[in-house]
């Protein structure tokens, strides 16, 4: 038993310890568990706390950038330009030795040691970043990737995967600190945020960390966290909500297959993608073509030029391509003929990612063949946006004026006009838009277009706006430093302003306002002129109304000496021995400088004063009328004359309406011998036969013609026929027929055998070789005319003549007159007996190749024409509208202007003639290729899309500020390559004492006029609002401070559909291969259009940026040469005289490419008119900007817990703890403040700049967490 007990005792020994230890273990486990739970909770709470505390930092970058944006962009009296990462502001003062005001301040929109500096030392900034990767306490890579759930690296700002794949997205040089893992670092400085809210940057950094100023960073004011940020400019990205893919379209510039095709596809209103001023014309192709690992055989990326709307072979591919983009574009258009072309008009993409899905949540574009993968969007966030807008304010921060004439009364306004009215209104009372006093209603209510004063006198707002523009152009412009008044003088400046207002009257949608095609005076407008009470009475516009280029007197011999009733021909040579009677009549040559489609038929009355003084011989009166007798000229192209498929025509040309002086409105001949009914009678003819003085009239003899000064008054068609009243004419021209002898004609016996010639026969239209003609000049007639003097004040530039209300003879006999005798009037050195009988160059726009008035043979048009290029005669089918005295449309010397350059003229559209025109209607249909102009364009012309149309307006009608000599052949300059330019294209055009390319280059450059006008985008939905327009592309694509990265993709998109037109001079002089077509009128199979080579073109942009300058206004794009490239698959003419292929040329070669060698006028494109040279800029300017209203802020913030072992004034990334790290972005919108007090800047001189009325807000926050 004892053993048993002992044994049991031994077993029990230590049991208590075991129990205790077990209990102990249990307690320890419980304690540890409690500690673990407590620790976990504490960590979670700390995490949550850190998250909340770092949120405090998140707003730091946003509010800093908002502050900077507000400081930089809301100041009055400065001009600002934005670019990714920076905003620069400019004042108005030009320091000595400089050509324009330097930047007043540079606002960095990224974390940098200095956020605003007057100077920008880009090279120093680059050097400071060279070693950024070794200084982690000072710099941070904002673009540091993280591995996304997909396994691919994800970049918060710019994905390097698309570098060199997407157009315009590339590295200019290897970024500092780049590596295989991170090829695209984007470093900026860390800002360390102290507890008191102040921010500091390290003074130095070494192996121990980043060291701060110990006076700033203390134990009581320690580091709380750090922030870094950079702000992108969303207008440097392609906007998915506004861009699509463009259909290149422009007015046909010649008669080729392509130009004819342009006419065939003249865009209709819904085709925004064919409107070069619409944001939809900007192409998404540079980015989207690479989607789904792009292949050039896919619909969204066909090989270059393979999808060609003008080629039958590739048209189908083009349509598929277009339909593909239309299906994904919110600006897509309805197309009636292809059901697959969709309209996404109600769609907006709120974010770029949303682009992936169609409205049915299927993949976007899948139904039309658009291919895309998820990573496509992830990798293109840096290139695409869904929010971009830019201000539509002029350099003074005031609203621009719409290129539209709104009906003054609300009732006739269309939906578009209602939108424009709203978009251009600040106050509820009056819009900042010109207005029509009244529109055309019917023949009895012609509207204000037919009045020279109604749109001025009856619309007070127009006068206010005019005065407002005067006031603004009196002041030096911020960023420019000079005013237009100081450049051109107030009179020429006012003339330009009035011409602009006048052009808006007739060039903006006109069918509703102007007489329609069914009216006799269709599409015509009387020039606007200021009333005399304004003190500037002789300022006037052009209207669509004739001026006079020639006044002729025709001596029509009606009878001869007879024997037994037969003409006396003693020697039997078939020539009458003596003329005995004649009738004289006057012919004027009307010329409408605003000609072109839509065909015009102006109505007017003409009065010729002092005709009664004309005599022949020794005082034999010519029985011509005096007083107030008028001839009402109003014959429609749609009159009965169109019978049998023929038409009188000419409505498209400058010399339209010639025949209307001889025809009644219904087309029947006017009556001779009566003068009491202006509409029925032709009064300017001898009212009876004038008997020649006895003994005169023999062939080879001569007869004195007294001549004398006559005044030709152009008047309203229904002007009163009572006695002349002061100022009762619209336009008056005084010409002085000299007192000279005229030769007696060799009259053919056969013409008088039947008796005296019947004068009325001349006014009866006859069918001559298929054309309807008036035989007003016949064989045997003597004609003497006064023509526009190329040496006179107008330089034979009819625009200068038309711009003046009254052109009277000068009292200064030494000055050159406006009109001189025709060169054949009394040619020097030629015996009078051998002088040409018909000294006239009358021209009718109805004819060109077939010849002009004359008898027995029609006068070839080329002999009735002068030359635009000195010494260069254009072929028959291209004969220009140049007065016969003109031997070169040259700019003249005046004051400090040395002149002697080729001047500005307009290339005729289609088959129309080149010359001095002011019409740049954005309209041209296939019917416009008809010279007849009888098939009147019924379609309502589209509006002026850009103020580049003002480039046809003369800029020196009254000289400039230094010299009032009129400047012929000088128009507003909106391109860098005028015909007169000789300086290198590596310069930006000059007009100074050493080099004079064009006065338009003088400060302020003419293109700044563009900044005062805009065309609101109202279709398919209003893309313009609150004085801003969505989808414009910023010219300033340079990225600060990462200038090694190029992102010009958006500009590539803007240039994608632009076409440049260059007509070789040889193509106008050649009869066979003529730009105006073959002699039979058939089109030429030659291409005159070019693409824009974006890389070469933008290289000059980058050179500008690298030199430290930005584009200050969008109009400065007109300073930049566009480098052309030939379109594949088209014939550019193999003629040896064709200028060279630009393939291997750069922007610096462009002056030579355009204008050739200075000593040759036929080796390049000298004959390309000013309108064609400026046309590409009219396609670009409306879609580009230099200011942005939307910015994207990328930020990174970290909260910091300092280690006790690290000094307070040091940050050691290895020991101090980053307790929280956040990355993300804010989309910041700048907009017109809804709460701003509306004030009318037109009537309130102290109304503030609208830039000061802006507010800012973050409209979208995204956290970077792929």
């Amino acid at each position: 038993m004892k053993d048993l007990r002992q044994s049991k005792t031994r077993r029990d020994a230590g049991a208590a310890l075991v129990l205790v230890l077990s209990l102990l273990a249990f307690v320890v486990v419980l304690a540890l568990a409690a500690l673990q739970v407590s620790g976990d909770q504490a960590r979670l709470e700390a995490l949550a706390t850190d998250s909340m505390e770092v949120e405090t930092l998140r707003d730091f970058p946003l509010n800093i950038v908002l502050r900077l944006l507000k400081d930089a962009t809301t100041s009055a009296s400065v001009l600002w330009s934005s670019q990714p990462g920076m905003i620069r502001i400019y004042g108005s003062s030009i320091p000595p030795g400089q050509s324009k005001p330097p930047a007043l301040m540079h606002y960095r929109l990224y974390s940098a040691p200095s956020m605003r500096t007057p100077m920008l030392d880009a090279s120093a900034e680059q050097r400071s970043m060279e070693s950024w990767s070794g200084l982690p306490g000072t710099w941070v890579d904002l673009n540091e990737p993280i591995r996304a759930r997909s396994g691919r690296p994800s970049y918060p700002i710019a994905d390097p995967t698309r570098l060199n794949l997407t157009d315009g997205y590339a590295l200019r040089q290897t970024p500092p600190g780049a590596s295989a893992l991170q090829p695209l670092p984007l470093p900026v400085c860390w800002f360390y945020v102290l507890k008191d809210g102040s921010m500091v940057v390290p003074q130095s950094e070494d192996a121990d960390g980043a060291h701060f100023n110990p006076a700033q960073v203390t134990a009581s004011n320690p580091i709380a966290g750090r922030i870094a940020f950079w702000t992108d400019d969303e207008s440097c990205k392609l906007n998915l909500n506004t861009a699509s893919t463009p259909l290149p379209w422009d007015r046909p510039a010649a008669n080729t297959l392509t130009e004819r095709a342009y006419a065939e596809i003249s865009p209709v209103a819904a085709q925004n993608y064919a409107d070069s001023s619409h944001p939809a014309f900007t192409s998404l192709t540079p980015v989207l073509k690479h989607f789904s690992a792009g292949h050039q055989d896919r619909i969204q990326w066909p090989p270059t030029d393979a999808a060609d709307p003008f080629s039958a072979a590739s048209q189908a591919l083009w349509r598929n391509h277009l339909g593909c983009y239309q299906s994904i574009s919110p600006t897509g258009a309805w197309m009636s003929d292809t059901s697959s072309w969709l309209n996404q008009n109600n769609r907006r993409y709120p974010t770029v990612n949303e682009f992936f899905f169609a409205t049915n949540r299927q993949q976007n574009g899948a139904t039309t063949g658009f291919a895309m993968m998820r990573q496509d969007l992830e990798q293109t966030h840096f290139l695409l946006t869904t929010h971009s807008a830019s201000p539509e304010l002029n350099p003074f921060g005031q609203p621009k004026i719409p290129l539209w004439m709104l009906p003054q009364e609300p009732l006739p306004r269309t939906v578009t006009e209602q939108r424009i009215h709203s978009l251009s209104s600040i106050t509820a009372t009056q819009p900042l838009a010109f207005q029509r006093a009244s529109i055309w209603s019917d023949a009895a209510n012609q509207g204000s277009s037919q009045s020279p004063t109604a749109d001025w006198d009856d619309v007070p707002r127009n006068r206010q706006l005019y005065a407002w523009l005067q006031s603004q152009t009196n002041q030096p412009m911020p960023g420019v430093g000079a005013s237009f008044a100081s450049k051109y003088g107030t009179r020429s400046r006012d003339q330009t302003l009035l011409s602009m207002l006048d052009m808006l009257r007739w060039a903006t949608p006109a069918t509703q306002a102007l007489p329609p095609s069914t009216a006799v005076n269709h599409h015509s407008a009387v020039p606007l002129q200021l009333t005399r009470s304004e003190g500037s009475a002789d300022l006037r516009g052009f209207g669509r109304f004739p001026t006079i280029t020639e006044v002729a007197i025709v001596f029509a011999f009606t009878d001869v000496e007879r024997v037994n009733g037969l003409p006396l021909d003693a020697n039997g040579d078939g020539i009458c021995d003596r003329a005995t009677k004649l009738r004289a009549f006057m012919v004027i040559n009307p010329c409408i400088v605003a000609s072109g489609p839509p065909a015009v038929s102006a109505s007017w009355s003409v009065r010729i004063r002092r005709l009664q003084h004309f005599t022949i011989g020794q005082g034999v009166g010519l029985l011509l009328p005096g007083g107030n007798v008028r001839n009402r000229c109003a014959v429609s192209n749609l009159s009965a004359l169109q019978g049998s498929g023929r038409a009188w025509g000419g409505g498209h040309g400058s010399y339209a309406c010639f025949a209307s002086q001889f025809l009644q409105p219904d087309g029947t001949p006017k009556l001779i011998g009566r003068r009491d009914d202006p509409a029925r009678d032709f009064p300017f003819i001898s009212n009876n036969d004038v008997r020649l003085p006895t003994g005169s009239g023999a062939p080879g003899s001569s007869l004195r013609f007294s001549g004398g000064a006559v005044i030709v008054d152009m008047m309203e068609p229904n002007a009163s026929q009572t006695s002349p009243r002061p100022n009762d004419s619209i336009h008056s021209v005084e010409v002085l027929f000299p007192d000279r002898a005229i030769p007696m004609p060799r009259l053919l016996v056969e013409d008088f055998v039947a008796g005296p010639r019947v004068i009325t026969q001349r006014f009866t239209p006859t069918n001559t070789q298929g054309e309807l003609r008036l035989p007003i000049i016949q064989r045997g007639d003597i004609v003497r005319s006064m023509v526009l003097n190329a040496q006179g004040p107008t330089g034979a530039d009819t625009r200068l003549l038309a711009a003046q209300r009254d052109v009277f003879l000068s009292e200064d006999s030494s000055s050159e007159p406006h009109f001189i005798t025709h060169p054949d009037y009394s040619p020097a050195g030629v015996p009078l007996s051998e002088a040409p009988p018909q000294a006239q160059s009358l021209r009718d726009a109805a004819y060109l190749s077939t010849g002009q008035y004359g008898g027995p043979m029609l006068q070839p048009t080329v002999t009735a024409s002068g030359q635009l290029l000195p010494g260069v005669t254009f072929a028959r089918q291209a004969t220009p509208n140049a007065p016969v005295t003109l031997h070169g449309a040259m700019q003249i010397a005046a004051g400090h202007d040395a002149g002697g350059r080729l001047g500005d003229w307009e290339s005729g559209m289609g088959i129309l003639e080149d010359g001095a025109s002011v019409n740049r209607f954005h309209s041209f249909t296939s019917s416009s290729f008809s010279r007849s102009g009888a098939i009147v364009d019924d379609a309502r012309p589209p509006p002026l899309t850009t103020a580049v149309a003002f480039g046809a307006l003369p800029s020196g009608v009254y000289g400039d500020a230094h010299n009032t000599t009129p400047r012929p052949w000088q128009t507003l300059l909106f391109c860098p390559n005028p015909a007169g330019r000789t300086s290198s294209s590596s310069e930006s055009g000059r007009f100074d004492s050493s080099h004079q390319d064009h006065p338009g280059f003088a400060t302020p450059r003419d293109h700044l006029w563009l900044e005062f006008f805009w065309q609101p985008v109202t279709a398919p939905r209003p893309l313009s609002s609150e004085f801003a327009t969505q989808g414009k592309v910023n010219l300033n694509f340079q990225i600060q401070p990462w200038t090694w990265l190029r992102r010009s993709t958006a500009i590539h998109g803007a240039l994608h559909g632009v076409r440049l037109t260059a007509l070789p001079t040889a193509a106008l002089t050649s009869t066979a291969e003529n730009a105006k077509g073959h002699l039979d009128g058939s089109p030429l199979d030659v291409q005159f259009r070019y693409r824009i080579d974006p890389d070469k073109t933008l290289a000059a942009f980058e050179a500008r940026f690298d030199a430290g300058d930005l584009f200050r206004t969008a109009s400065e794009v007109c300073d930049m040469f566009l480098v052309p490239s030939r379109i594949i698959g088209h014939n550019y003419d193999s003629d040896s005289s064709t200028p060279r292929d630009p393939t291997n040329l750069s922007a610096s070669d462009m002056t030579t490419w355009w204008n050739g060698e200075q000593t040759h006028l036929t080796d390049a494109f000298e004959a390309t008119g000013d309108n064609l040279r400026e046309a590409p800029y009219s396609q670009i300017y409306p879609r580009v900007c230099t200011q942005s209203n939307v910015f994207k802020l990328h930020y990174r913030v970290q909260s910091i817990q300092k280690a006790r072992s690290v000094p307070e004034d040091t940050f050691d990334s290895t020991r101090d703890r980053i307790s929280a790290d956040r990355r993300g972005s804010h989309l910041i919108e700048r907009r017109y403040k809804p709460s701003a007090t509306p004030r009318d800047p037109v009537t309130e001189a102290d109304a503030p700049s609208l830039h000061t009325q802006q507010e800012f807000r973050s409209i979208l926050h995204e956290t970077f967490s792929p």
């Binding site: 208590a16 409690a34 909770q41 707003d59 040691p113």
Partner: protein
């Protein structure tokens, strides 16, 4: 017969161990509880700061705001009020290298009602 049970040595040893461990454990638990409380309070204060920040652009300057121990705002001071918050604006905040950029900032102050704790933050306000 010798009665069964633990020997004195065993008992003393067991009690000693238990006592030692319990003392240690009891010593640890308050610390753990305190850490947890501190963490919680830090979170509550961060929550209150976030609230003050969100109100900072609109609230009146130097007006007291009251919160209970869970960070819930109270309309007036009450017995349960644990924290008093105050926003002072505008205060100066500066960017590196530039004194010309005028930043709009607010100072957020928070203190416990028992007077044993107080802290402040500075936040930037929209311009």
């Amino acid at each position: 017969m010798k009665p069964g049970g633990f020997s004195l040595v065993e008992s003393v040893l067991a009690l000693g161990i238990i006592g030692t461990v319990l003392v240690a454990a009891i010593g640890i638990l308050p610390q753990a509880l305190n850490t947890s409380e501190q963490s919680y309070q830090r979170m509550v204060r961060a929550l209150i700061f976030a609230h003050l920040q969100s109100q900072s652009s609109t609230s009146d300057s130097a007006t007291d705001l009251f919160f209970d121990s869970a960070g819930t705002p109270q309309p007036t001071r009450a017995a349960s009020t644990a924290y008093i918050g105050r926003t002072t604006k505008p205060v100066k905040a500066s960017l590196p290298g530039s004194t010309k950029v005028s930043l709009n900032a607010a100072k957020l102050e928070l203190s416990s009602t028992d007077g044993r704790w107080q802290d402040h933050r500075t936040v930037l306000l929209p311009p």
